[in-house]
Symmetry: none
Subunit: 201 residues, 4 copies
Amino acid sequence: MAYKRSALMEERLAGARERILLATRALVAAGGYRNAPVTAVAAEAGVSTGLIYRHFPSKADLFVEVLTAAVEHELRIFEGIAAEDLPAPERLRRAITAFVRRALAGPGLAYAFIAEPVDPEVEAERIRCRRLFGDVFHRIVADGVATGSFPAQDTRVTAACIVGAFTEALVGPTAPSRDAVGDEDALVASICQVCLRAAGG
Amino acid sequence: MAYKRSALMEERLAGARERILLATRALVAAGGYRNAPVTAVAAEAGVSTGLIYRHFPSKADLFVEVLTAAVEHELRIFEGIAAEDLPAPERLRRAITAFVRRALAGPGLAYAFIAEPVDPEVEAERIRCRRLFGDVFHRIVADGVATGSFPAQDTRVTAACIVGAFTEALVGPTAPSRDAVGDEDALVASICQVCLRAAGG
Amino acid sequence: MAYKRSALMEERLAGARERILLATRALVAAGGYRNAPVTAVAAEAGVSTGLIYRHFPSKADLFVEVLTAAVEHELRIFEGIAAEDLPAPERLRRAITAFVRRALAGPGLAYAFIAEPVDPEVEAERIRCRRLFGDVFHRIVADGVATGSFPAQDTRVTAACIVGAFTEALVGPTAPSRDAVGDEDALVASICQVCLRAAGG
Amino acid sequence: MAYKRSALMEERLAGARERILLATRALVAAGGYRNAPVTAVAAEAGVSTGLIYRHFPSKADLFVEVLTAAVEHELRIFEGIAAEDLPAPERLRRAITAFVRRALAGPGLAYAFIAEPVDPEVEAERIRCRRLFGDVFHRIVADGVATGSFPAQDTRVTAACIVGAFTEALVGPTAPSRDAVGDEDALVASICQVCLRAAGG
DNA sequence: CATGAATGAGAATTCATTCAT
DNA sequence: TATGAATGAATTCTCATTCAT
C-alpha cells in the first residue's frame, strides 16, 4: 500500500507542481513580479503556501523555472528554424516572425523576457535566456556572413541589436504595436524588414 | 548677514539634495530599484532618512527625478543633433554615437533607462523617457525617408527598433560590450552600422 | 483527522483573534488610541505584528471591530429594554441603569465610547455607535411623549442630552464617579433621576 | 541700544507668540490635533519651527496654552453669570445659552473642549477645563437647591450631567444641531429646557 | 504529502525636537 | 533672537519562509 499511495502522491504532487507553475506564470503575465507574492500564487494554484516550498526551494527558484519554461519552448522552435536548410536571410525572417507572432499572441512571455524581475537570481536567469536567444540569431547572422548573404560585420553586435530591436518593437514603450495591434501582419512585416536590413540582407 | 546665511543654507541644502540624487543613482546603477531602499540611499548620501522626505515627496518622486535627470541631458544633445543641417543618415550616426559613447562612459544611465523600476509611477516616467528617445529617432528617420536618404518604411517601427537595438547592444545581456569594452571605437562603429542599415541607409 | 486539525486550527485562530481584540481593548481603555500602536498590541496579545494583519485588514479595522464589539452587546440589551411593555419613564430608567452599571463594571467601554480615536475611519464608527445609542433613547422619549408620560419637546435634542449626560457623569472629567465609586447605587440612582427629569418625567 | 533692541525683540517676540497661538488654534479647530504638526503651525504663523520652541517648551505645552486660553474667556463669562443676583434657574438658563451660542458661532472651542487630544499632558488640561465648567454649573445648581428653586439632589452628578448634555447636544454625533443649524434659537431653547428640567427647575 | 497560522525582518513615511549659523 | 535643515525614533504594513499538526 505504501508504494501505491506513493504513486498517487507523486501524481498529485506533479499536478500541484504544474498548477503552481501555471499560476505563477499567469500572475506574472498579468501584473509582473509584484503581482505574484507566494500567498497569491498559492491561492491561484489552489494549494497551500507550504506546498510551494515542498516543490521549490525558494520563490526565486520558482520564478526561474517559470521563466525558463516560458523561454525553452520558443528557443527550441528558433533552433529548429536556425538549423533549417534555407538561406540565412529567410531563416532570420522566419525566426523573427515566429517570435513576434507568438509574443503578440501571449504577452506573458515578452513581458517575462524583458522585465527586470528584481531578484538577482531571477535576473541572472533572464540574462541567460536573452543570451540564448542572442545565440540563435548570432548563428544565423554568422552563417549569412559566411555564405555571403550578409556583408562582413561584427556578428555579435548585430545579433544583440536584432534581439533588442524586435523586443523593443514588441513590448517596449516606444513600441507602435500596442496602439495598432489591429494590423498585425503589417507590424510583423515591418519588424522583419528592419531586422533584415540591420543584418545587411 | 541674512543673505549670507541664506546662501550658505541653500548651498548646504543643494548639497544634500545633490548627494541624495547621486547616491540614488549610484545604488540604482549598481543593483536596480531593489538595491536602493530609502535607508540605503540615506546611508550612501550620508544623511538621515527624514531629510530625503524634506527634499522629495516620496521615494517614487526621487526615482523619477533621478531617471529624468539622467535622460534629460542626453535628450537635449540628441535634439541638437536631430536638428542639425546634415543628411539624415549622418544625423542618425551622430545621435547613436553620442548615446553609446556617453552610456559607455557611465553605465548608470543605460541601466536606468532599461531597468523596470517596479513602481508604477517610476515606470510611467521610464516609458515617457523611452518615448522621448524614440521621438528623436523617429524624426530623423522620417526626415531621411522624406528626402530620399532612406527607403519608404514604417518609421515608427524603425525608430523603436533602433532604440531597442543600441540599448540592447549596450546594456542587454546579449551585449558584447561588457566583455570587450576595450575596443570602444569598434563597438560604436558596429552599432552605428547596424542601426544605419536598419533604417535602410 | 482532517476535521480535527481544522477544528484545532480554527480554535487557535480564534484564540489569536480574540487575544488581539482583548489586547487592543485593554490598551485603548488604559491610554487611548495613542497607547495602542500595532507593535504594542502584538506584544500585549503575545503574537507577531504580522498576525494582526492576517486577522484585520488594517489597524483602523481592528479598532472599529473593538469599538463595535464593545457597543453591540449593550445596544442589544438597550433595544430589549426599549421594546419592553412598560411605561416610557420606567424603560428610560432601566436603560440608563443598565448602561451605567455595565460601564462602572468595565470602564473600557465608556472610554472607547467617548474617546476621539483620531483615525477618520474609526471616528466614523464611533459616531455611528453614539447615534445608535441616541436612537434607542430617542425611541423611548418619543414613546413617552406620545403616551403622555413626558411633555411635548424636541425629542432629538432630549435624546442627545441624555446620552451626553450619563456619559459625562460616568467617564467625563466632571464626573463624581471616579472618586466615589464606592456608593454605586447612589450614583446610578442620581444619574437616573437627572435623566428622567431631563425628559420631563 | 541693547535695551532698545531688546524692547523691539520682546515686542516682536510677543507678536510671534500670539501668532503661534492663533495659528495653532486655527489648525486645531479646522482639523484637530492631527492637523497641527509643529511644521504646519510654524508655516501658518509665518515663523520657523525653532521659534516655536523658544516660546513653548514643547508641543504639548503649546496645546495646553491654546486650550486654556480658549476656555478661560468663556469661563469668566460663566462665572459672571453664576455670580449674578438672579434666581438659579435663570442663571442656569443664561449660562447654557451663552455657552451654546458661543459654541455655535465658533466650533473651535467646542471641539477643543470635547476632543481627546491624545497627548496625556494636554488631556490632563482638558480634564481640568471640563472640571472648571462643571464647577460653575455645580455652584448654580447647589445655589438653586439651597434656595429651594431645585429639589434636593446630588448636585455634583447633576452638574456633570448638564455639562455632558449640552456638550453632546452641540458637538456630539448624536447631536441634531449639525443638520438643522438653521433654527438656532429653537435648538438653544430646547437644550435649555432639557437642562433646566434635569436640574429639576 | 499537505496545511495555513505564525513569524519577524524590513520597507516607506512622519514628526517632535535640536543646533549650527 | 530667529532660522530651517537635519535628525532618528516610532509607526503602519508586507511578505518570504517555517513548522506544528
